[in-house]
Symmetry: C2
């Protein structure tokens, strides 16, 4: 029987608002077994960029991380990381904040320029699963921000969803892994207006929901990514509202669970 | 025979200028044995504070870390910390960046208000020496920034010289510790104009240099602090130019060494 590991990803509103964050961290603190928290930066990087007179650059609705931006993103994400660690320590969680550079946790490669130059953005190449294991063995709870490195001295802005998925996949041979994406909806919805949650989705069900137009748009890359993780050995992927984090290990979990069968 | 540990503190100019920093980190990478790098923030926090339209507050020439300032200092110090870690990784140093909150490495208490309220500034109470040992055992090189926490969710700005000294003292029973302060002078000077370095200072010598007016002003708290570390079990304290870091473990070390006899 493998030890359990819960990898939780948060972003968006819960990061921006301190009271929401405090409530969420209490729920994270109560989770049993080994755990990792992965966080994005909410909109704080954009706020700081604007305050510093270097407004974010966007191309076709996507953020460009140029040299100025990576410096600010690095500060904001790692500063937030320390703030979260300090709050978790106050909740008796022996947390340790990491970027992908720390202990060479996540090596990535700068995204090649095709039509758009995204700048200092990383595509993940390798996760240091030995490091994670030694941190768990030392009783530590990693808190990981959305930065990786190229092992040549450059930090790279990296999607937090991807980081969570890659960390989960990287240790799936050693642990029974539950990957949890917390966001602002109660789960994957079959009826957006009435917030009707699909409780369980298998690969076959997923194909059906897509062909029927039930699952569309932005949810498709998210679920593709989630099923990739499951195919790579992650046991379950859960998608739920961040308020439901205290229920992901219980019978009355109200969100969506993705699993092989 | 105890394992060796070298604790190196840098600050000032070497932090502000990337080329100087790169050169310094190469020298740090070449040091033998267990090692820790402690860094200040140079003047980067003040630069960012000014850019964000929240200029640093000073009282009697000393910085006040109010609520706005601690947020910016946290970002700047931890961002710089990740940058240094990423550069060290490129030099094959398995570095890991930490604040005092990470793994509860350094617990401090907010400085009580006497005549001046310094704000969110920490006075060190306890170092987690078990954590340091487990990091060394995992082959990791801690890079520590000038932030501690109060274990109640608050990060505190803390003098980097003090952090270096407290870390060195905290593990002095387990390791043979060499504490190295790198700065912009070649050592403790007996003749400032001609840059004549005092190669060795014992406690008796220190008293003599003070009574003769050879060692004065800002050097006194620095050396008091250094001798406190020695009295607490640190083997040697070295004070030298940051260019000399590659010589602290060699016979032709040109800086000052403080030791019991």
């Amino acid at each position: 029987m493998k030890d359990t590991l819960t990898v939780v990803k948060i972003g968006g509103k819960v990061i921006n608002e301190e009271a929401e964050l405090d409530l969420f961290l209490k729920k994270f603190a109560a989770l049993k077994g080994n755990k990792i928290l992965v966080h994005g930066g909410g909109n704080i990087a954009s706020v700081v960029q604007n305050k510093m007179g270097i407004p974010p650059k966007m191309v076709e609705g996507r953020r460009i991380t140029d040299a100025d931006a990576i410096d600010i993103v690095t500060m904001v994400f790692s500063g937030l990381n320390k703030k979260i660690v300090s709050k978790l320590q106050a909740l008796n969680v022996q947390s340790i904040g990491l970027s992908g550079a720390d202990g060479n946790l996540i090596r990535s490669v700068k995204r090649p320029v095709k039509t758009i130059d995204y700048g200092f953005v990383g595509d993940v190449e390798e996760v240091n699963s030995e490091l994670l294991k030694s941190l768990f063995d030392a009783g530590l709870v990693p808190v990981v921000c959305a930065l990786t490195h190229d092992n040549q001295g450059q930090l790279l802005n990296t999607n937090a969803d991807t980081i969570a998925s890659e960390l989960a996949r990287g240790v799936a041979d050693k642990y029974q892994v539950d990957l949890v994406y917390c966001f602002e909806q109660p789960g994957v919805l079959s009826d957006f207006e009435n917030k009707v949650v699909i409780p369980e989705i298998t690969p076959e069900g997923y194909e059906k929901y897509k062909s029927e137009g039930v699952i569309v748009d932005g949810m498709i890359p998210k679920l593709d990514n989630a099923f990739d993780a499951i195919n790579a050995g992650v046991d379950t992927v859960k998608i739920c509202h961040f308020d439901s984090l205290d229920k992901v290990q219980s019978e009355d979990y109200p969100g969506t669970t993705l699993c092989l069968k």
